[in-house]
Symmetry: C2
Amino acid sequence: MAFEKEHKILDGYLRDKGLKQSAQRRDILNAFLKTEGHMTVEDLHKIVKRKNPSIGIATIYRALKMFCECGLCRELRLGDGMIRYEHKYGHAHHDHFTCLKCNKLIEATDPEIERLQEKLARKMGFKLQGHLLILYGLCRECK
Amino acid sequence: MAFEKEHKILDGYLRDKGLKQSAQRRDILNAFLKTEGHMTVEDLHKIVKRKNPSIGIATIYRALKMFCECGLCRELRLGDGMIRYEHKYGHAHHDHFTCLKCNKLIEATDPEIERLQEKLARKMGFKLQGHLLILYGLCRECK
DNA sequence: CAACTTATTGATAATGATTATCAATATCAA
DNA sequence: TTGATATTGATAATCATTATCAATAAGTTG
């Protein structure tokens, strides 16, 4: 299954916090890492169930929250009432474009936009720590 | 109370859709318009209650949804689990900056960023119809 | 290895914002 | 004035997420 680096990050986090390991959490991490895209908790629950049918959904919630805390995962609130999760470790920062017709979600970045955000924040006297940018519209296929 | 223009917009919308007027909705619109900032449904409910103590919260939900449909109001999902509402009519487009310490919410815009978003979307083959940009960090007072 | 402390798990109850339902009432056109 | 129908307010339903809790597993210490 590999993913040694990611497991090492999780293990380091557990050690730092004095927490314990568990087979369930390892299974969830593997399923999370091998699944590309922007998962919902329910999506991941279904996937992990194939390997461990008795896993509870509360455990998925708990694990994803922990993965976010140790930098393996990023939370994504697109305004559809569900939190989505994507890989963070080893992935450059990016924003998102969602198609209003087919609901496709695509990653997008522009370093120039990032730079201007910094500049705007500075101009207003703020210390920028992060941002959320979602572009809405019609994708190539739907427009 | 004035706000003639905004009431005219609402009335036109009602006429177009074959809907009826109501004193409650007019009260809600006045309360909405006279309140600056980024209101939550509950905020507005409290305010309207001062004039009409028997107004139900469901009516506030319904009215705000309608105000959004006719362009008087904009919905704002900041990821804190509640939808916030702000004036849209007569207000230039703007994005938001939220302070992670004091939760202050401030409006911000940069026409250059807007332009680059258009460009980025075009480059990816998308037709841009809107965007959501929230900057997170520490404000002048908290940093 | 055994005993003990404590984190984890899975089931399920609780939460909380929003939506749907419904009978009573208000609006508006004929 | 009447009839059709939109609106209202109360409240039940929904649904994603969180909290609770007893049972179990992990890891530490003697």
